[in-house]
C-alpha cells in the first residue's frame, strides 16, 4: 500500500477522543500483520509488540495518538436538532456549515447549522461563535431522533481526505493519523531488520483531552525510552518563521528541557548518518504533547519527539506532506533499530 492510500484509510476512521472503542479494532488491523503480538488495553490504547534479538532486551516505546477532536451531544432541540459540546480543543469557526456523523445507535448524518448573515443579530457579528450556540440539523422528527441518538453520543466531522497532486494530503484527523501512519511505516521498515531491543508501537487514546492514553500506557509498559510522534505547525503566510516549520525541509526534532539531551543528540546523529535532514523544534516548557505526560511516569522516562509539520491544525483542512511522514518514519525506524539504550551511569558519568 502506498503512503497516500495508508494515510487516507487511517483518516477515514473515526475515533473521537474518549470514544476510541469505536475504532480500536480498525487501528489494530493495520498493526496485526507487522507485529509479534498486538493487543488493545483496557483504555483502548492499541499496542503492537515486536520482540528484540538481544538476550536482555530493553523496551523502546513509540507513540502516536489516534484519537481526534470532535463533539458530543448534550441535548435535543425541537425540530430534529441536537445541541453539542466539544471533545478536545475544537475551533468553532471551523465547524460552521460542516457535515457531521453522529455515532448514535446507528450512524446519523447531519449538518451544523449556520445562521445566514441576513438573520444575525447585532451582538452575533464580529466575534467567534460559541459551541453552545451551535446545533446539528439531522432532518429527523423529534421522536425518531430520540430513538437513534442519545445524550452523550459522540460526533465526528464528515470531511473527505484528499490526496493532492503535489504530494500532500488534506482533510480531517491528520492530527495525528499522520503519526499513526508513521507507526505503520516504521513497522514495515522493521520487518527485515534485526533490532536488539523490544519495540512497542502504541496508538494512544485521549491525547486531545489530557494525554491520558500516554499516562496509562507508559505506566503499564514501563519503557526505557519513549519516542513520541506528533504533528507540529507547518508554515503558512503571516505566521512567524520561528513558530512553524516548512514542509519537505527536514524532520522537526524537539529540543528543550523535557527532552533527554543525550538521546536527542543521538537522534540528530542518526539523521546525519542516514542522510535524513532534520530541523530543531524548540520547546522551552510543556510541549503540549504526550511526551510531557510520559516523562514523569513512574521512575521517570527519557523522551524524544519527532514531528510532522501540519498546516491548519484542528480544522477539517489539515494539510501534510507525505514525504514528511515517510522521513519521520525512516528516521525513527533507523534510530530505534540501533543499540541505543544506555544506563543513567553511562549517560551521566560521561
Amino acid at each position: 500500500m502506498d503512503t497516500g492510500t495508508l494515510v487516507k484509510q487511517l483518516c477515514e476512521i473515526n475515533a473521537p477522543t474518549g470514544y476510541e472503542n469505536l475504532s480500536a479494532e480498525k487501528i489494530k488491523s493495520f498493526f496485526n500483520p507487522l507485529c509479534d503480538e498486538v493487543y488493545i488495553d483496557p483504555f483502548y490504547n492499541v499496542i503492537g509488540y515486536k520482540k528484540g534479538t538481544s538476550p536482555e532486551p530493553k523496551k523502546v516505546v513509540i507513540t502516536a495518538h489516534y484519537d481526534q477532536i470532535g463533539m458530543i451531544v448534550t441535548g435535543y432541540e425541537k425540530g430534529g436538532f441536537l445541541r453539542i459540546s466539544h471533545l478536545g480543543g475544537i475551533d468553532t469557526k471551523a465547524l460552521l456549515a460542516r457535515e457531521v456523523v453522529v455515532h448514535g445507535r446507528e450512524e446519523v448524518y447531519g449538518v451544523i447549522g449556520a445562521k445566514p448573515p441576513h438573520l444575525l443579530k447585532e451582538n452575533e457579528t464580529g466575534r467567534n461563535v460559541k459551541i453552545t450556540e451551535l446545533f446539528i440539523d439531522t432532518g429527523f422528527s423529534d421522536d425518531t431522533l430520540k430513538e437513534k441518538v442519545e445524550i452523550g453520543d459522540p460526533v465526528s466531522i464528515a470531511a473527505p481526505v484528499v490526496e493532492m497532486k503535489n504530494g500532500c494530503v488534506a482533510g480531517k484527523s491528520l492530527d495525528n493519523r499522520a503519526g499513526v501512519a508513521a507507526l505503520v511505516l516504521i513497522l514495515e521498515q522493521l520487518q527485515n531488520v534485526k533490532h536488539p531491543n523490544d519495540i512497542y508501537v502504541v496508538a494512544t487514546v485521549q491525547e486531545e483531552t489530557e494525554l491520558f492514553g500516554a499516562v496509562t500506557s507508559s505506566y503499564s509498559i514501563e519503557p526505557d525510552l519513549a519516542v513520541v510522534i506528533d504533528v507540529c505547525h507547518g508554515d503558512m503566510p503571516d505566521v512567524d518563521k520561528s513558530q512553524c516549520f516548512p514542509l519537505n525541509r527536514g524532520v522537526p526534532v524537539a529540543v528543550g528541557p523535557a527532552f533527554h539531551s543525550e538521546y536527542t543528540n543521538a537522534l540528530f546523529e542518526t539523521g546525519k548518518r542516514e542522510r535524513i535532514p532534520t530541523q530543531r523544534c524548540i520547546e522551552p516548557g510543556d510541549p503540549g504533547t504526550e511526551a510531557w505526560a510520559i516523562q514523569v511516569s513512574r521512575f521517570g522516562i527519557p523522551i524524544v519527539e519527532v514531528c510532522i509539520p501540519l498546516r491548519y491544525m484542528h480544522t477539517t483542512a489539515e494539510l501534510v506532506s507525505l514525504k514528511d511522514i515517510e522521513a519521520a518514519a525512516t528516521l525513527v525506524a533507523r534510530y530505534v533499530s540501533g543499540d541505543i539504550i544506555k544506563t543513567p551511569e553511562d549517560i551521566f558519568q560521561a
Binding site: 526505557d224 512567524d240 518563521k241 520561528s242 529540543v255 528543550g256 528541557p257 523535557a258 527532552f259 539531551s261 530543531r280 524548540i282 522551552p284 516548557g285 510543556d286 516523562q295 514523569v296 511516569s297 513512574r298 521512575f299 521517570g300 522516562i301 527519557p302 543513567p344 551511569e345 551521566f348 558519568q349
Partner: protein, 329 residues
C-alpha cells in the same frame, strides 16, 4: 558556606542541562554518603543509611536554574529567545548571559518598543557580537540555553548571587551531609532536575525512593522591601516552615514536626503561607500512592533575578533545623 555557595551558584545548570552542577555536587558528597547514583531523568540521589527500624526521610533541593533558550537565529546573527522557567522580560533587559560553552551575550529589546507594556520576550534577543547567522550558528545552536551572569558575594551577613534559587538549598543539604554524622533514620538526599519548568524531576525520584516522609528545601519570597506586597516573611528571621503554596498544603505531620524541632532547639523560624508558586513538594506528595511532604523555605529577595539575596543565618539555621528533624523518632 560562602566558598561552597560560590562554586554551586557559579556552576552552569539550567533545567534539562544539569550535567555540570550535578557532577560538582557528586564530587562534593560522594565520599561522605553510603551510596550515590543518578536516575533516569538525571536526579542525583545520595543515601545516608540509618539504623534498623529507622524511618526513611527524603530531603530534596533542585539543582536547575532558570535560563533563556535560543529559539531562532536571524540572518544578522541575533538570537531570539524563549524562557526556561519564570523569566520576567523587564528583569532580562540589559543582562549579561552565558551559554554552556562560555559564549557570552547581552539581552536587548527591539528599539521600536516605545511603551514597556508591550515588552515581551519574543521582542527581545541575545546579541553575541557576531556578524551573521553562519558565524552565530558556530557558537550557539537553537536549543542551547543561556543563564544569567551574577557573581556570588557575601556582605553584611547576606549572600547575593544568581541562582540562589535553589543552589542555597543544595548548599544546605551538602552542609547537612558533612555535619550530620550517624542518624537513627535513613536520609535520602535528592538533588532534583527540572523544577523550574514544572517540578518535573522530584515526582519520579520520589516514586523510585518511596520515602516515609519528604521535605523540599527551596527559597521563598519576602515581604520586607520598599512598597512590596504584604507577606509575613523577612530576611534573617529564620528559615520558613511551609504551611501551603499554590501546589501543596503541607502534610500536618511534617509541618508540625518541623515546628516542634525548631521550638525545642531554639531555632528561629517563620511560617510560609503563599497563594502563588510551588516547590518540589508539589509533585512528591502525590507520588507512589502519597508521601507526607512539606518544605523548609529560605527567604529570598529578588527571586529569579541575577541578584537574588538571602541571609546567611537563615541558611545556617536551616541546616540546624533539618539536622534536628532527621533525628526525630
Amino acid at each position: 558556606m560562602i566558598a561552597l555557595l560560590k562554586e554551586l551558584a557559579g556552576a552552569y545548570g539550567p533545567s534539562g542541562r544539569e550535567e555540570e552542577i550535578r557532577n560538582l555536587i557528586e564530587r562534593k558528597i560522594s565520599s561522605k554518603v553510603d551510596q550515590v547514583y543518578t536516575d533516569a531523568l538525571g536526579n542525583l540521589i545520595a543515601v545516608k543509611k540509618g539504623q534498623e527500624n529507622g524511618k526513611r526521610i527524603m530531603l530534596a533541593a533542585h539543582m536547575d536554574e532558570i535560563g533563556l533558550v535560543a529559539s531562532y537565529i536571524d540572518d544578522n546573527g541575533f538570537i531570539r529567545v524563549s524562557n526556561i522557567g519564570g523569566i520576567n522580560p523587564y528583569v532580562a533587559i540589559g543582562q549579561r548571559v552565558q551559554f554552556q560553552n562560555g559564549i557570552t551575550g547581552a539581552v536587548c529589546y527591539e528599539e521600536s518598543i516605545t511603551d514597556f507594556k508591550d515588552l515581551k520576550l519574543d521582542r527581545m534577543y541575545i546579541d553575541i557580537g557576531t556578524k551573521n547567522r553562519e558565524i552565530a550558528m558556530e557558537c550557539v545552536m537553537p536549543g542551547d540555553i543561556a543563564v544569567f551572569c551574577g557573581e556570588t558575594v557575601e556582605q553584611n551577613s547576606r549572600f547575593i548571587s544568581k541562582a540562589l534559587d535553589d543552589r542555597i538549598g543544595c548548599a544546605i543539604l551538602i552542609e547537612l551531609i558533612e555535619k550530620m554524622g550517624d542518624c537513627p533514620n535513613e536520609v535520602i538526599f535528592v538533588f532534583t532536575v527540572q523544577e523550574e519548568v514544572g517540578l518535573r524531576g522530584a515526582g519520579p525520584a520520589a516514586f523510585g525512593i518511596k520515602p516515609d516522609i519528604a521535605v523540599a528545601v527551596d527559597v521563598t519570597g519576602t515581604g520586607d522591601t520598599p512598597e512590596c506586597k504584604p507577606l509575613a516573611i523577612e530576611l534573617g528571621k529564620g528559615p520558613a516552615v511551609m504551611i501551603k503554596d499554590n501546589r501543596t498544603i503541607s502534610h500536618p505531620m511534617v509541618k508540625n514536626a518541623l515546628i516542634e524541632c525548631a521550638r525545642k532547639n531554639n531555632i528561629p523560624y517563620q511560617l510560609e503561607v503563599m497563594s502563588v508558586g510551588g516547590n518540589d513538594a508539589g509533585t512528591i506528595h502525590t507520588a507512589a500512592g502519597g508521601i507526607p511532604a512539606g518544605a523548609v523555605s529560605i527567604p529570598c529577595r529578588y527571586l529569579h533575578r541575577p541578584c537574588e539575596m538571602v541571609d546567611k543565618n537563615d541558611a545556617v539555621n536551616a541546616v540546624k533545623l533539618l539536622d534536628a528533624f532527621i533525628r526525630m523518632p
